[in-house]
């Protein structure tokens, strides 16, 4: 079994060679010790220090309840982004339970793309155990691909409280809901839901219901004092509408955030998740619990890469597990 060389893949990604992306994804998913070593090499070679700053791409989280229209919308967004000359990678996270171990990954079927266009990559990945959760490999993947793609989208299923992972990973989070489902409204009003950066109401072709949903959501946001969140109504069915406006809103959000701070937080979250995946609750206890681990990571250099952050945690865990 040949495991790709992480440093070499990193060099290709740094050069903007997008054809290195599939192998990069194979690598970060690889759980063998050698696979983890090469992934660490990859991530080190893509650190802000190595890149001379944060990767210029935009990590966009697209999340929402099942069947809200996320994938179909991505197909339209993809067309618009490509029309603007932007390259795009989509990581579609499959929510299906892993009761049998295997998954049916069908999302890419909903996202129309031109197979000869090397500016687009779509990869289906499996979810972590819980709804809305992200496998550590997905976080690592997004961090790596954003070096070579202008936009990296992570599509997950979830609504309500389950978006913490995606909020931690993405520069911009768009929550997608379909008209007629009151969930999001309730969550906003009751303050349960983290307020997304962009709120998208799909299926505008359904007219009145869609209009009403958009109005209600905007009102709910105002009532909790949120004025910055854009609420955008789209239809992904021909003739598609609202897509340009959405692409603009996403791009605009990228310009107002503190990217280095978000990315640093994202790397810390990824390191913690990777640590958890590797050493489990027992490992976390050994470093004094989740809070303590978070504190330790927070003190680290904001530019520290994920392997370095992991090193901050691992020695203690190492003692415990040997």
């Amino acid at each position: 079994m040949t495991i790709p060389d992480g440093a070499m893949l990193a060099a290709r990604l740094r050069d903007g060679d997008r054809s290195a992306a599939p192998q990069t994804l194979n690598l970060v998913e690889n759980r063998t010790p050698e696979g983890r070593r090469q992934t660490a090499a990859l991530l080190r070679e893509l650190s802000p220090a190595r890149l001379g700053g944060e990767a210029q791409g935009h990590i966009v989280g697209v999340t929402g309840p099942p069947g809200a229209g996320k994938s179909t919308l991505l197909g339209e967004l993809l067309r618009t982004w490509r029309g603007r000359g932007l390259t795009v990678a989509v990581l579609a996270v499959d929510p299906s339970s892993r009761r049998t171990g295997g998954s049916l990954l069908g999302d890419r079927a909903r996202i129309a793309f031109d197979p000869t266009d090397d500016g687009v990559l779509i990869r289906s990945t499996a979810a972590a155990g819980r709804l809305g959760g992200l496998a550590p490999s997905t976080r690592e993947a997004a961090g790596a691909l954003v070096v070579a793609f202008d936009i990296v989208v992570v599509e997950t299923v979830g609504v309500g409280q389950s978006e913490t992972d995606i909020a931690e990973l993405a520069d911009t989070v768009a929550v997608v809901i379909q008209p007629g489902s009151g969930d999001a409204l309730q969550f906003i009003k009751s303050g349960i839901m983290e307020i997304p950066d962009v709120l998208v109401v799909t299926k505008a072709d359904l007219r009145e219901v869609a209009l009403r949903a958009r109005r209600d959501l905007a009102a709910a946001l105002r009532s909790v004092g949120e004025r910055d969140t854009a609420v955008i109504s789209v239809s992904s069915l021909a003739p598609a509408t609202g897509i340009d406006e959405l692409a603009d809103a996403l791009a605009a959000h990228r310009t107002v955030i503190d990217v280095p701070a978000r990315r640093a937080a994202s790397r810390r979250g990824t390191a913690l998740a990777a640590f958890g995946a590797e050493y489990g609750e027992r490992g976390l206890r050994a470093v004094g619990g989740r809070r303590a681990a978070e504190r330790r990571l927070a003190e680290a250099d904001p530019q520290a890469d994920i392997p370095a952050l992991l090193d901050l945690l691992s020695p203690d865990a190492g003692q415990e597990t040997t």
Binding site: I3, P22, T100, L104, R123, L237
Partner: protein, 655 residues
Amino acid sequence: MMRTYAGHSTAEKSNELYRSNLSKGQTGLSIAFDLPTQTGYDADDELARGEVGKVGVPIAHRGDMAQLLVGIPLDRMNTSMTINATAAWLLALYIVTAESDPAGAVAPEQLSGTIQNDIIKEFLARGTYAFPPGPSMRLIADTIAYTVEHVPKWNPINICSYHLQEAGATPIQEIAYAMSNAIAVLDAVQARVPADRMEAVFGRISFFVNAGVRFIEEHAKLRAMGILWEELGRERYGVTDPKALRLRYGVQVNSLGLTESQPENNVQRIVLEALAVTLGRDARARAIQLPAWNEALGLPRPWDQQWSLRIQQVLALETDLLEYPDIFEGSVVMDGLVAEMLEGSRAEMAIVAEHGGAVRAVDYMKASLVDSHRERLRRIESGEQVVVGLNRYQQAEPSPLVGDGDGGILTVDPAVESQQRDAVRAWRDARDTAAVDAALTELARVARSEDENIMPATLAAARAGVTTGEWSQTLREAFGEFRAPTGVGEAAAQLPSDDNAFLELRDEVEHLSEALGRRLKILVGKPGLDGHSNGAEQIAVRARDAGMDVVYEGIRLTPAQIAASADQEGVHVIGLSILSGSHRELIPAVMDALAQRGIDVPVVVGGIIPDADVEPLKAAGVAGIYTPKDFDITGIMRDIVRLVADRHGAPTGGG
């Protein structure tokens, strides 16, 4: 040996065949179109590759249609066209051909015939859809509204439940989904015709059903359908004329159960299935088509079809079948079965209604069919359901029927495709471009309009010389593209605790995944226009249940799309499924596309692959080939696991 599929390859060849049949006393025409025509592509489209002239005739424009019908008296002809997504277009070509017939114009009022024009079963089973559900239903409603006024002797729709059983439907699902489909169609038309026309519309609707080998139950199914149809007419649409209320149906008997192993046994099956639709007079079919003994081998030759025709003739002319009134009248057993069917169907129809009707319930119905089919295959695999010659009594004498040089099937001359490609290009070069552009602009405008009927603009486009691909592309742009649901994601996971072979397989998958470092990942791909999805769906579901990560995107992918998906998804193995006969062109095309991307993973192929094609495919690099006789899907999965293990030098065998 190569022989031309004379009834189909080209308009000219088909015309010869039709005329010869007519001169022998046949009174009607039945036109089978090739898959590109059925799905709205011209012969030079990438997706048409390998399919031009294969399972039917290619018709790209009014010139082809005129050629197809030359010398045929359209004023006296009853023409049945198996056409759905592009039905409005082919009907327009037919009307235009009649009005400009060199032998004398024939007016639309004089034309009689049928278009299948049923889209829901295309989404659920048959696969020749072209547009999303909403616009597709509108096209159906438009053609019905148009023909009721202008082509009154035409049957504008044939609601099909046949294909649902072929996709795994139980009798109850077959009834319930067909009736729900009819409701969706009738409701859509109701919005487009004056109220007093509904009785005429209702009376024009006919069904195309299936009959399986459990022929007593199947007969009960048809009686139940008759009762439900009448009820629907009376209660929902206020129909009172008893003639209009009677269920009119034609049948093609079950082909899904016909085997590749010991294919001669299929003859018995076909005879029994024919009884299901003829035994009781009160629910007897109007027209019957029987498949041939070599159904699972490939396309039937004229001799094979003749044998099936003779079955019907023996039944009708030698037996006493047709001499009695309804022989089940008063039968407690039959009445009981019918009552059961009615109860089950009503419950299932209620579920579809809860989803908002058949159009909205397509996802639900598709997933239910995939689930039923999985259960069917599980029963066959475990031996619970006996299939003689397949899973019981497999020992047999060599069959003299398949010994012939042609392998017992018909093959199509591949030159047909390039000829048709050149011909359609020549047609485009020779016509009045300005007229074509104007017609397409008008068509696009009407398509985007709310309630204008599509037929007049479609007729104008036909007259202007527009092609099938152009008409369809214009509508695709207006309506959007669509991929039907695959139903596989929802199919509930099956976790048998007592099937040792399956449990061992899962262990093997786990071990290999561990050795690989990530979960074993397979791409199941359907290249080309072939709509036969059953096999791919069941392979995908089983692979998932065995613990693999499965990428399955549904039907109708180009080789380039499959290669791109395989690359981006990082799969360890690729499984391709083709049943339509285009494997000789498409499998090598996929292999080339993979090579171009530098993807070097094992590729296996399944479907209708005649023996003669096995060696050439292996020479092209295919690692394993499976056909309908390989009913042990767990065994197929195990082969696949071992192929990947070998490729990666991983140890095999469960730990």
